[in-house]
């Protein structure tokens, strides 16, 4: 009754669009990645150079450093988002007057365009017009200058990302929590489990698919973040994440060949990471009782 051909037909518009605008550019990048190509070099045009771009990138400290920074950014940002998002969602499962107002307010940052988020945070944290450095200095005697201290720039971008994306995590968690059946929780309570045990043995397993999918989507987006951080700190030391490093290599430096090869490796790392998560989500692990 369900002819696979119909299935393919239903899937085809999606596949066509993605092949055209997703896969075709990928093939082009794959091709360019094995060439030396800088339009402002003495002999412009593509020159095949085999693995030279990759040879260069495994020794490129700036690139490796950017990968490390991105990893730190992603881990800290996503980790905090998950914890905060879970706590907030948990708070939102209770009923109290004004709940929906708080929820709506909490959702607002999600709606701000990343480039505007970067602009707002720049306005908040640049000394001279930003209130944050001013009050930190006055109240806590802290020197806060994201231009002078790379660590502060990194932390600022993490906090900015948390501000922007926690609402998304809260919403998915809330959806996940509201879908958990009541009986197992009550049963566990009756059996004398404490709060933590209920959370660990009952709530968490039910939340796992939502949790992993959320983390999955956040990881992808965090790794390719450009606009927000670009607007905030321009990608100086401390915020030169891989996405921004690629941007600098491809645009101002017009080193298309090398930029493409870095993109390929970044894509490779992202895919491997996400694939492992995907395996975890789809529960294909051995010995797991579905």
């Amino acid at each position: 009754m369900r002819n696979p051909r119909t299935g393919w037909l239903l899937l085809s518009p999606t596949l066509i669009i993605l092949l055209l605008f997703g896969f075709a550019p990928f093939l082009y990048v794959l091709f360019v990645g094995f060439n030396q190509w800088n339009v402002f070099s003495a002999d412009d045009g593509l020159v095949f150079n085999g693995l030279d771009n990759f040879r260069r990138l495994v020794f490129d400290d700036d690139f490796l450093h950017s990968v490390g920074l991105t990893a730190r950014f992603a881990i800290f940002a996503i980790g905090s988002e998950v914890v905060l998002g879970f706590v907030l969602a948990q708070m939102l499962t209770r009923n109290f007057p004004g709940k929906s107002l708080f929820r709506i307010i909490h959702t607002l940052p999600l709606m701000v365009a990343p480039i505007a988020v970067g602009a707002i945070w720049r306005l908040l944290v640049i000394p001279g017009f930003g209130p944050v450095p001013f009050f930190l200095d006055r109240w806590f005697d802290l020197k806060y200058q994201i231009g002078s201290y790379p660590d502060q720039a990194l932390w600022t971008s993490v906090i900015m990302d948390v501000w922007h994306w926690t609402p998304f995590v809260t919403l998915t968690m809330l959806a996940g929590l509201s879908a958990i059946p009541k009986e197992p929780v009550e049963q566990a309570r009756v059996d004398g489990a404490n709060r933590f045990q209920v959370f660990w043995y009952v709530t968490l397993p039910f939340l796992r698919p939502v949790l992993l999918t959320t983390v999955f989507i956040r990881i992808m987006d965090a790794i390719r973040t450009v606009d927000e951080v670009w607007m905030l700190a321009g990608g100086g030391p401390g915020t030169r994440f891989t996405g921004i490093y690629i941007w600098r290599v491809v645009f101002p430096r017009t080193d298309y060949g090398y930029g493409s090869s870095i993109s390929l490796i970044t894509l490779y790392l992202t895919i491997v990471l996400c694939w492992l998560l995907f395996i975890a989500i789809s529960g294909r692990r051995k010995g797991e009782v579905e």
Partner: protein, 284 residues
């Protein structure tokens, strides 16, 4: 389980304290953006003052009376709305196919779909630029600087997301319902219309909303693949950063204005968002 009055008061206090704190943290940047948008350029520097000293609406009137801004706004509305609609329809069909048909390697297709969202945008702009200006060309017409170009392109990151989101929702609809409808004589469209769409409505709604927001907020592609005609509002924001001084007031005013439409949509659709974002947590 009786809770004493004191315990209840304490709990209420904690709840509200927590939420008021969260609200302040959430709103502070937005409030600051609003304050900046109400300041003239000369007032911006100096000791930061978080209170709203006066209503300086010139930033808003300057932006709103600018015909380019109006065009950007229209473009943004057209592009993100069309993209959201297109994504909803295509994702529904694709997810239905992935959920109900035994397609060869569908798990792998499912994963491949999402890899489209992972590509670092910078390097992919170049091939896209070439495609937009040269490959898709009919006489003088190209995809470059057209709304349709952006609408299709945004599918690359919105479609995979939508399919991932809908997959759980549609998997959660018992297949017996489809079968029952088919036995009653409904065709494929009948099943989709009368069974799937109503049951997946919250999921579809949230797909549409989030696609809309992502498309509305997108910057890099819009900035590089449009010129004059199809520019969107986010690219307009970048114009305020200039050699002779960033016009922060107008930039903030424009940011406020871009926030309003998405905020309204989210407020109206709050309920569906939570109902739809389950990613297949409802298994039964």
């Amino acid at each position: 389980m009786t809770i004493s009055f004191r315990q209840r008061a304490w709990r209420l206090f904690v709840t509200y304290g927590f939420w008021i704190f969260t609200t302040i943290v959430t709103l502070l940047p937005i409030w600051w953006m609003f304050v900046v948008s109400m300041r003239s350029r000369v007032e911006l520097f100096g000791r930061p003052n978080l209170s709203l000293s006066r209503f300086f609406v010139e930033n808003y009137t300057n932006v709103l009376t600018d015909s380019t801004f109006q065009r950007y706004m229209t473009n943004s509305v057209v592009v993100s709305t069309s993209n959201a609609l297109l994504v909803m329809v295509l994702a529904l069909l694709a997810t239905y196919a992935l959920s109900r048909y035994k397609l060869t390697g569908r798990d792998n297709i499912f994963f491949w779909l999402i890899t489209n969202r992972m590509a670092p945008p910078a390097a992919f702009l170049l091939p896209l630029y070439i495609m937009f200006t040269r490959t898709f060309r009919l006489g003088d017409w190209t995809l470059y600087d057209t709304q349709i170009g952006l609408i299709l392109l945004y599918c690359v990151f919105n479609l995979p997301f939508a399919i991932w989101l809908l997959k759980g929702v549609i998997d959660g609809i018992p297949i017996e319902l489809d079968d029952a409808a088919m036995i009653d004589g409904a065709g494929l469209w009948g099943v989709l219309r009368h069974v799937i769409v109503p049951l997946a409505a919250p999921g579809l709604a949230v797909t549409g909303i989030l696609s809309w927001v992502f498309a509305w907020n997108e910057y890099l592609f819009a900035a590089n693949l449009t010129s004059v005609q199809a520019r969107t509002i986010t690219t307009g924001l970048a114009e305020f950063v200039t050699v002779t001084g960033t016009n922060w007031g107008e930039l903030a005013a424009m940011s406020m204005l871009t926030l309003i439409p998405s905020a309204i949509i989210v407020i109206l659709a709050q309920r569906y968002i939570v109902m739809g974002l389950t990613f297949g947590a409802v298994k039964e």
